[in-house]
Amino acid sequence: MSDLTLRQWLLADAPTSRRHARLSSLYKGWLTLRTNSMAMVGLTILVLLVFTAVFAPVLAPHDPYSQDLASRLQPIGTEGHLLGTDSLGRDILSRLIYGARITLYIVALVALIAPVAGLLVGTVAGYAGGWADVVLMRITDIFLAFPRLVLALAFVAALGAGIENAVLAISLTAWPPYARMSRAETLTIRSTDYINAIRLQGAGPLRIITRHIWPLCISSLIVRVTLDMAGIILAAAGLGFLGLGAQPPSPEWGAMISEGRRFILDHWWVATVPGLAIFTVSLAFNLLGDGLRDALDPKDDGQ
């Protein structure tokens, strides 16, 4: 099939199978997203980040852990060390490249845990109503009432420092907003006629929640997660900075800033370069999230 006919097939007025209908609707969403140039910038940065993480061993000029005390704190542009070296003489560029893996790892884990937990709690509370709603939402309130970083600190302190525990701590503090959002959406959705209609076909609550309410909550959830990603990366970096996340010598970006802090006046690049990396990735997630908000609206069909 040539390019032109594939495009026509994807934009067909009357899809001929379920798969065709789904692909066609995805493609239209993609076309909408593509018109948003800022979102495309964000997406490009994130694709580059994934690429960097996957091919880190190939891309990195040096071993991120190999120390060379003779050439410590070299400035940006030094021969062999494009972004300079840190206090132990490790190549900052290589550490950044390997750090992308850790950042992605954190992002992926949190994105898997927090929204799913929030979605479960929120939709069940919203659909069931009554005492289930009261109990679940009060639990959510309790988690919401704690300052996020302090709660994460407490968890890490209890579970021990380390990247997995940091992720767990962040997830535990990140799910309540998703629960609230899903509940609010469920309350609107459950009183609509299409839910009434499926109830009149004898569908049970489990089917209604998983097949009818979730697909509608998920799009706004994805947008929210993307917009929150920046905050999550920053929280992970913050924990790393406080020494409660990734442990040295791991090249986690937050931990790198923390290490560079001591030299910030004389050797600014040691802290600034990982800071810029965090900034860029956070910004990319925000830009993409904004674009997804428009693209995921099912009503939009370019009409």
Binding site: S25, D193, I198, L200, L216
Partner: protein, 250 residues
């Protein structure tokens, strides 16, 4: 034989002091194969009666009998959903925005425990005059009339005996309304259905129904044949007023 019998039906929303009585002491009975209309203005409680029958309005008292079986509370059993089905007012709100026509109908057939789903979906689409081209479209790719046909197909999927129609054409253009009303009339003959239809539009009810009840403020003020309405002979003052308001002076 009576398909649907309602006696002393009260339906209310809310509790204690902010209780709103939507239907007060309604009585009506619909014979098998008949088409019965409920007319009234907004807030008259006409749609609430349909919701009480289907269990969507849980707070009611009185008697509702479907084919001789008395209902209670809001819980309905599988067999009920294969006897009674409903078509909603707004076709833009009654279809799941992320489900294709095929998904809507297949799931409904599956829920009713029917086999041969693929063939049945095709049959339903032909039944409501949509054809196979529309099978894999999403609701936003359909016009209002096409959506309402899908909603009718969904209601017919479980092969019910009684169809509750809640203003099925009030959101549609008049030319589309004519098509949908014709379709409903044909389906009734073909499948021997009983209709209970709600509308604010007297000519539509007179066209579709044999008997009708006029409602105001939750009460049925008059039950008459649509012949009586056509002749311009309703007894109750309010029915006459409604009739006057809906006949355009020529």
């Amino acid at each position: 034989m009576t398909a649907l019998e309602i006696r002393d039906l009260d339906v209310w929303f809310g509790h204690a002091h902010d209780r709103v009585d939507a239907v007060k002491g309604a009585n009506l009975s619909v014979v098998q194969g008949e088409s019965f209309g409920l007319v009234g203005e907004s807030g008259s409680g006409k749609s609430t009666i349909l919701r009480a029958i289907t269990g969507l309005a849980p707070q009611w008292s009185g008697t509702i009998e479907v084919e001789g079986q008395a209902l209670s509370g809001a819980k309905r059993y599988r067999a009920f959903f294969r006897t009674v089905q409903m078509v909603f007012q707004d076709p833009y709100a009654s279809l799941h925005p992320r489900h294709t026509v095929d998904q809507v109908l297949s799931e409904t057939l599956h829920l009713h425990g029917l086999d041969n789903i693929d063939k049945r979906v095709a049959g339903l689409l032909d039944d409501v005059g949509l054809g196979q081209r529309f099978r894999f479209r999403y609701p936003h790719q359909l016009s209002g009339g096409q959506r309402q046909r899908v909603a009718i197909a969904r209601a017919l999927a479980g092969e019910p005996d009684i169809l509750l129609l809640d203003e099925p054409t009030s959101a549609l253009d008049v030319s589309v309304q004519a098509e949908v009303l014709n379709l409903l009339a044909d389906l009734r003959t073909k499948h021997g259905l009983t209709y209970l239809m709600v509308s604010h539009d007297l000519p539509v009810i007179a066209h579709m129904c044999d008997q009708l009840a006029v409602m105001r403020n939750g009460e049925i003020v008059e039950v008459m044949s649509s012949e009586t309405l056509r002749m311009g002979n309703p007894k109750h003052e309010y029915s006459q007023e409604l009739l006057r308001a809906s006949v355009a002076p020529q």
